[in-house]
Amino acid sequence: MKRRAFLKLVGLSAVFHHWLLRGVSAAEGPLLAVAEGKDYAQVTRNAIAAIGGMKRFVKSGDVVVVKPNMGWDRNSEQAANTNPIVVRTVVEEALRAGAKKVKVFDRSCNDERRCYVNSGMVAALKGMKNVELKYIENERFKKVELKGKVLSEWELYDEALHADVFINVPVAKHHQLTKVSLGLKNVMGVMGGNRGAIHKNIDEALSDVNGALKSHLVVIDATRVLTAHGPQGGSLADVKQLHKVMASSDIVAADAYATTLFGHRPEDISITVAAHKRGLGEINLKKVRIVRA
């Protein structure tokens, strides 16, 4: 209990002494929380509290978008989608911090109705007030001038662009093309059009998109991870229980740390490297202040 009290203190001080925290982080690099335990709701709360609490990101009356990965018609234990308990907890925290409305969506790869149900998200968010679990509607994609290295423009989802706070909640998993799929890759879920076509330059393309759509908070679900046959998996033989949740406001740092869970070095992942070079965050974990919670 003492530790939690301490964390609360850290969280509260972060709220009331925002300048202090900013000063500290400027001096010592970004903050990353790694929480571990079997009660995933508590683990998620701990991770968020350890980087200053949800109130650091969500102000009263904000419209918040929580973007999990629920792109596949796989169930929760198959680890292709974000753990619904983690998503639910992030949503709860956002509401508690004063969010007016929390929207949850993903442009799925399989039939969206099946994905939303089978991922466990429909059941997890059922009956929550001011929470909308909604399907993607094509008319909402807006052409955005990215002026990036490989994408000059692309259609992005307006509800993600217009949100006051965009919370990126990926599941950490294997990906055949990019080795791992994490926060930077999860943003593909708000891309419209023929998004498969970006695979030929996926590292630079994702930097272009992430440069235009900032993830204010990244919560990576590594409660269980898919270690092979990603991003879809399907066989429980490929699933490993890690019982971890990471949180950071630095998407590159969060991805970099999560990469190490798979036995890779952050520098091996071209998406992370490209994003770091663009100034989207810190790839060198020695420069990241890692808080265990």
């Binding site: 399989n110 099946r114 055949q176 030929k200 879809q232 798979f262």
Partner: protein
């Protein structure tokens, strides 16, 4: 009226609504349809308990007459509803006589020769196809484009109305706007039947409908009869009241649909329906022998002349999951369109010419438009005759639709030396039917590149077509699914383990691991 409502409710229910199983679908109407039963028996020469309700309908028709036409048939009810607004001219003489037998008999006899065309003219199938292929997409498309238009007009403020629209979408609208080939033909057939109403009431039912004709044959034995059996000389009001049976002065027992209109309308209270075993004296039981033989013979001709198939079209003739033999499938398929209605991703489309004329309106998987969803079993669930077998999901996943083939002249890593593997990413088989090897090559700009070149593991491919569907190339895909004769289901090991790795001493997939997989 009630049954039309039931029909429409079931129609709307024939869709994925958040549950893996559909408890009640519109297929119950076809399972109670004796024309489906008779043509199924003729074509497959076997009985299925799925069609037991149709047998009951026949037995009740023997007892009661054509109550099905008057009380149950949804197309009949639709005609009753519209006919009051259509002015009548004189009956068309060309439809009278034996024309209806010329329709029914060839259908049944060609079914004997394994060309089961009954569904093309089955009234319930005609109505369902008009709804599925034409009216429902039109309705859905109209509402959807209104909704989209509203967004263009008022933008985000549309969200205030979203709960209402979501309700509509979840319970009434088609989830996807799918437009079908042959929508025009389906609509035309239905509208032609409505158009015929300007000559006389229930024109289709009394002069053409093969189901009605079939039921008419049985209803002759019905002991439930209307009295008096002819028009009363002093009144004759029944001639205009009765929708089907008074072409002349005598009641045509085989046309009486027991609508009971005459009972309510008779001012003299003379009309009654009562049981009588007396044999009616009106006409011969069957039409002339000439018609009988001619009808049967033309069925043979029909079965022969519709057989031709273009082999190159057949290469892409992909049947729904679980269909093993094309012949057996054609024997059983009613062409009702339910599978196409229910298909989650809009993968099933009515065949135009892929399967020859004999296969018109039968469902074909068209992967570039939609793929077979790995965990979905809905088409098998709604098929009234099990032409698409109702497989449990574990078996359906292993059922082979076809096999994918890479086209290296189009596929990006081969043709343009860029990375892609979107197909591998989407392949739903846990052990992956599409894999890739990593090669160091010089790309088209002369720079060294680490390319992932995909290849297919044929034993693991079930032909679901998601690879062809998601291929980011425009128009033609770099990987395509082709039909195969050998539809032996995939081995269970392909679908991976349902047990966590810790419980499994040697993981099933280990031997097949990709060599570049860094985690092993």
């Amino acid at each position: 009226m009630l049954f039309l409502l039931v029909f429409l409710v079931l129609f709307v229910q024939t869709e994925y609504r958040g549950s893996d199983t559909i408890s009640a679908a519109v297929n119950s109407f076809f399972r109670a349809d004796p024309l489906v039963l008779v043509s199924y028996l003729a074509a497959t020469r076997s009985f299925t308990w799925l069609l037991f309700p149709a047998l009951l309908t026949l037995i009740f028709t023997l007892l009661l007459g054509r109550f099905f036409c008057g009380w149950i048939c949804p197309l009949g009810t639709v005609l009753d509803l519209v006919t009051v607004r259509i002015k009548k001219t004189l009956p068309l003489q060309v439809l009278k006589g034996n024309l209806k037998y010329w329709l029914l008999l060839p259908l049944v006899s060609s079914a004997l020769f394994h060309v089961n065309l009954a569904g093309i003219l089955d009234p319930i199938a005609i109505l369902l196809r008009a709804l599925t292929f034409f009216l429902y997409p039109l309705f859905g498309g109209a509402v959807r484009s209104g909704w989209v238009g509203l967004y263009r007009l008022i933008g985000e403020r549309r969200d205030h109305l979203a709960p209402g629209f979501d309700l509509l979408r979840d319970h009434l609208l088609p989830f996807r706007e799918t437009f079908y080939p042959l929508a025009f033909l389906s609509a035309l057939l239905f509208l032609a039947i409505v158009f015929l109403e300007r000559y006389e009431t229930r024109n289709w039912c009394r002069n053409l409908c093969p189901l009605g004709t079939l039921l008419g044959l049985f209803s002759r034995f019905s002991p439930l009869k209307r009295f008096p059996a002819q028009l009363c000389s002093d009144c004759k009001a029944c001639r205009s009241t009765c929708p089907t049976s008074f072409d002349g002065d005598a009641l045509l027992q085989e046309e009486c649909i027991l609508c009971m209109e005459c009972l309510g309308a008779c001012r003299q209270k003379r009309v009654q329906f009562s049981w009588s075993l007396q044999k009616p004296g009106t006409g011969a039981f069957l039409p002339e022998r000439r018609v009988l033989l001619g009808g049967l013979l033309s069925g043979v001709l029909l079965s022969g002349s519709f057989r031709f198939r273009r082999p190159e079209a057949e290469a892409r003739l992909l049947r729904p999951p679980g269909v093993k033999s094309e012949g057996e499938f054609l024997n059983k398929c009613v062409r009702c369109g339910e599978c196409m209605k229910v298909c989650l991703t809009g993968a099933l489309y009515p065949a135009i010419s892929q399967a020859g004329i004999e296969g018109i309106f039968t469902p074909v998987v068209t992967p570039r438009l939609g793929y077979c969803e790995y965990n979905c079993t809905l088409c098998g669930q709604v098929c009234p005759t099990a032409a698409i077998p109702n497989l449990p999901v574990s078996q359906k996943r292993r059922a082979v639709i076809g096999k994918a083939v890479f086209d290296k002249n189009h596929c990006l890593p081969y043709a343009r030396k860029t990375n892609c593997i979107v197909c591998e990413e989407h392949c739903p088989i846990p052990q992956k039917a599409i894999r890739s090897e990593i090669v160091e090559e010089i790309d088209l700009n002369g720079k060294p590149i680490r390319l992932q070149k995909p290849y297919l593991v044929e034993e693991l491919c079930n032909g679901c077509g998601i690879c062809e569907n998601v291929c980011p190339l425009e128009g033609k895909s770099g990987i395509e699914v082709f039909a195969v004769k050998d539809k032996t289901p995939l081995k269970e090991v392909a679908l991976g383990s349902a047990q966590p790795a810790a419980v499994l001493p040697s993981s099933a997939g280990k031997a097949e691991q990709n060599q570049d997989d860094p985690y092993r």
